[in-house]
Subunit: 193 residues, 6 copies
């Protein structure tokens, strides 16, 4: 039964409102075990001339972009090795950690690190989870499986991975990657014995 | 500036309302880039006698428990090898995947799998991310580092891990685990060469 | 989906709120074809110290009694020939019309009118419809069938009737009665031929 | 003092809102004895993009037509013996009862029944009462007097009648009729003796 | 933290809403010691077709003009000795009192009174305070200093004054004036001794 | 018709709410020319556990005291020459100006200034006007007439005065006084000639 009324400054687009309604509905259901169709969200658009704080009119800030969309585009650019586009999506202080690596700050470091490991790798997505963090960063999780080819020409597939991103002001500031590649190779190697 | 009014049936406790306010505030900030202190949440408690749907009074459902708390307790029980308590926290259809394992459905399978790998392992937490999924399950991510001892008596520490849990009706129904253990051992082994 | 918020001065009892919620729900559905369970009514009780008109606090008026209940009691008193109780339920300017009678203003007139017609009559109720009229009077319709005994000792039953009442300030001010008694007797008589 | 806020999906026309405001005002006054001018109704039109249930946008259903208007048109068509138009206003399962008749389901049955009774009859309306019933049907009462001519050429007038209609999805599904015709004739006949 | 929602009939202009928001913000801060930027005012414009009192639509009344603006214009007209314009700004029953004068009702009386006192006088404004009184009149205070020339050719300046105006229906109905002119002259005279 | 909803943290006392309702009603009527009885103010008390800003619970600040009441008490203390009590009501940076005086900062300066002017003086109040200023100070105007006795034993009465006070955090920080005393004496003196 929860009924949510959202008063926001006029100016958000339908898809932004849809994202807002969706996020708020899930936030309510995080605590209140109501069926989704019993959670009502009403957005009250306030024209600037009808909203005052301290007696002053205020302007609405542009909506934050969808962080999951940003992650999708970044991963696609990386897969296509379009480093220029990918680099343009990184924010100040960007920092990434891959399995057992020290923090890296440039995409080139990552390329160097991955070069000896496989010829190429692509991702099959299983799911995205996105939420606002406690601070200004949104957090996006992306998981699925990797497939590709090792340098010895052998193919691999179905290797589980998960990426965790932080997005601030529409830019990626943090990426953490885990996957089963080493475990898989080790297991395969042992199995091969 | 967003102002959120939440109408809920009376009965939620202060800590449940706090969680609700926190989740809704973050949901709003997922789309609207307002500073946290500009997001106001007002909860309007509706006594049962003041709320009607279809002309009928309704009863509030008990709040969902905090899924991050459930995960913390489960992980503590597992670390303490208190399998009885841990098992009691699992829901119907529970299923877990560890690095490169097939899906397991009992804790015993996990114990068997881990036995040859290390004497013991404990976790240092770096962060939890929790949110409601699209369906009825809440999703909890927990990440940090592992430390412990291998069977050869050597110690390990600082190995990154991430767990993803799904919690439905207060029970854990899914656990997915990734970590750098294999990668670390492989790197160490190579390094040892 | 209609959501109704009712702000009233604190003081109405649960059954009065229930009647209010019910009446408002039906009022909404009179125009909006929503399923009943999609019509939400929230009553916001305003303590006297929180409600001001013209800067002055106001006191809530006692709820109007349920007019259908008043009609039921009146009809029961009449059936039991408890004229004192029935008379006590009549308001200033009471006026009643029975089939083809001139307006009557006292219960005694009615008794006199009915005396030659039947020994006694009782009512089986089929339905009540109650609503607020355009002015201060509530309107209650009561319909069903009559059974009883004529002066020749023959019984009758299943004769349709409908009564229309107006109730103002908790008192009955108008009663209009229609039934098929004459038509039935006429038909029976003709049939008897 | 009651203040009513109605949140509905945008799309209702001014006359539909007027009917809504009127019905809700009367519903409130059915329980709260406030003077009409102290009952405020505010309709908050929600554009589809601002209203979500279960995170999904919803479309408003077209308003129900005014059932009293439907009854007026039906009675006019019947008086004009425009059976085609009248028939088009009847819903599935239509059923009508006239004084001492068995239930009839076609207008032709009614015509046959009335034929021996009078040459023609017209209605003078005294009042309509309309409300939503407990279910999906609206209930309309119409009362007044009949005038016309008997087969012997004598005229009649001022004979009280009341009709009760049920209207579902804009169609008449039930009509119940009571009047003083038999009583009047009987009285007249007796008086003639 | 106070959040104010104002429901008004649609039709007020942005500058009128700004004045309304400003007045309401100050009214709230008269009692609640919140920082101005923590007082939010939301104006909900109600289109005429969405607002009903007693089931009837209502029309918004034109906003009252800004009474401080009226006072400014009046004082400017008086300073420019544009008596026609000034006179047009006076309401029924206008009445003014200047230092130690009896009540005057025409501007001519004032001119006569001031003639022997100084050749001319102009005002330097230090501040305006405007508010709605308990009744229909707005109250405007205007204070500052006078400068001008006496009939002996000597100049004066920096003489404190305060005017109190009442404005009803956009017209000035009362003016009360105090200043230090006599005190200043007396002091100067004494000082001169 | 304006309807005002005020959401404040729970904790204000009935007389504080009454002052709030009164101030807000007048603020609305400053712009909207509605009759007082058509301005409705509803205060929604928010328990601390139901109100969050930035996801944090907030505590209500104590209401500001009634500044007109403070002024009344101060003037009474001054009239009674209870300088200790009066001094206790002055705030940091207090500053007062009397007719043609330089700014004074202590009550003793005022006493010295007034000593040669009259034996004693008391006030008859005609009206108070109080409002919140643009900043943190409330402004209180007090006007009426002075009566008392000059040093020559002659009495005076009916001399108009007006005081303007600023009150910040419950303390008087500014007093400006105007009156007709000099004008009156001058006029009397001239008249005496």
């Amino acid at each position: 039964m929860p009924i949510v009324e959202l008063h926001v400054l006029e100016g958000y687009k339908p898809d932004e409102k849809q994202r807002l309604a969706d996020a708020v509905t899930r936030a309510v259901r995080f605590v209140v075990p109501a069926a989704p169709e019993l959670v009502t969200v009403m957005i009250h658009d306030m024209p600037a001339q009808d909203y005052y704080r301290g007696g002053l009119m205020r302007q609405p800030a542009a909506a934050r972009p969808d962080p999951a969309e940003i992650v999708r585009k970044f991963l696609a650019a990386m897969e296509a090795r379009d480093l220029d586009q990918a680099r343009g999506m990184l924010g100040e202080g960007f920092r990434m950690v891959f399995p057992a690596t020290a923090p890296m700050t440039t995409l080139e470091e990552l390329i160097d690190w991955s070069k000896p490991r496989y010829k190429f790798v692509t991702k099959t997505y299983e799911g995205f989870d996105a939420m606002q963090g406690a601070g200004d960063a949104a957090v996006v999780y992306c998981r699925g499986t990797l497939q590709g080819e090792y340098h010895d020409g052998s193919a691999f597939a179905g290797i589980r991975f998960i990426d965790r991103f932080e997005i601030t002001d529409g830019k990626i500031t943090k990426q953490d990657v885990w996957n089963d590649m080493a475990e898989t190779r080790m297991t395969t190697a042992e199995g091969a014995v």
